[in-house]
Symmetry: C2
Subunit: 206 residues, 2 copies
């Protein structure tokens, strides 16, 4: 789109490779445990090259976290406030389960960031997430007033959904150990998804 018309862009390819490598290393080692050398090795580029594209480790980390944020927001839109509670919650829980399945690294980075007290995404918690919760709380309370849900604190429900769905990414290793080492295959995961929806909906609908 810019001057350099048809350039498949070396820059773009390298940035992508570095971001992908960084996502994996930050997910495995945490921010403090990750090293630029490990990221460079995984991306298949020399170490100074990483610094060329991302001058500081903190900046690279921010870039990775912001990618994860985008995915989180997409999943958040699955909570359709116009739908009825069963449909809205089913769609949302399934979207969050799929996100944990398809982006386990991002989910783990997110969890790690929250564990540390959200040093990088605090402003997101203060603004976008707070607004998301406020608006969805109203919807849940309306459903309760209409007698379609049990009288629960909406946040208790949200926390249960977030924690349970992300557990399938965050604790994938623990799960694999308990499943005789193999982890969940697609079929087992789909069953788990269905049952998570059933248990939560069974617990909150009248």
């Amino acid at each position: 789109m810019d001057q350099s018309t048809a350039k498949p862009s070396i820059r773009e390819g390298n940035e992508r490779a570095i971001l992908a490598a960084a996502e994996a290393v930050f997910a495995e080692q945490g921010f403090g445990g990750a090293t630029m050398a490990a990221i460079a090795a995984r991306a298949g580029v020399p170490k100074p090259n990483v610094h060329y594209y991302f001058p500081t480790k903190a900046g690279l980390y921010r870039a990775v976290v912001e990618q994860v944020l985008t995915a989180w927001l997409d999943a958040a839109h699955a909570f359709d406030t116009s739908a009825d509670p069963v449909e809205a919650l089913t769609t949302y829980i399934e979207a969050k389960m799929d996100l944990a399945r398809e982006m386990p690294l991002g989910s783990r980075i997110w969890a790690s960031e929250i564990l540390r007290g959200a040093p990088v995404i605090q402003d997101f918690l203060d603004t976008t997430l707070t607004q998301w919760v406020r608006s969805r709380e109203k919807v849940v309370k309306r459903w309760i007033a209409e007698g379609r849900l049990k009288p629960i604190e909406p946040k208790v429900l949200f926390y249960m959904i977030w924690a349970t769905t992300q557990h399938y990414a965050n604790a994938a290793h623990e799960i694999a150990t308990l499943e005789k080492g193999g982890g969940l295959d697609d079929e087992a995961f789909q069953r788990a998804k269905t049952q998570v929806v059933e248990i939560i909906l069974g617990g909150v609908t009248k």
Copy 2:
């Protein structure tokens, strides 16, 4: 109990202070992000003193994790396999909620360790935890066969309980942000505990 009869023991006091400081720093920074200097400063002792009592950072981390393990096992016993499902699950969920409330640092270290793939506690996952899950799975399946619970995969239930209860420790900062900055007071936490029990039991009992 040994030769040095009535020694209140400088050693004991220092070890306790260092372990407490290490728990806090590991919980905040993760293993990789924690530094011996930060732990020493928090414990109020010079850095080499930490190495005197705990020669290596990895060893100190193991000592902290083992403390957490003990607490986990105590809570696990709250799952009374002789009781009826409502009573057993209620007691267990409440015990896990109380653990998250009373030992938030330990819960966060546990979560961080699981996130990284359990490098230190893998043998515990392979032995004690696997056995715990196997035996409780049998109990849940019996309850299902007796028609007292819906036909669910027991592990889906366990994961939901673990993830949801520990969320109150792991995401305490996020929760505080969403609760207008104050965090949950005792009353709000007790309400949440009750509702977590109600939703899960409502979702799995017939």
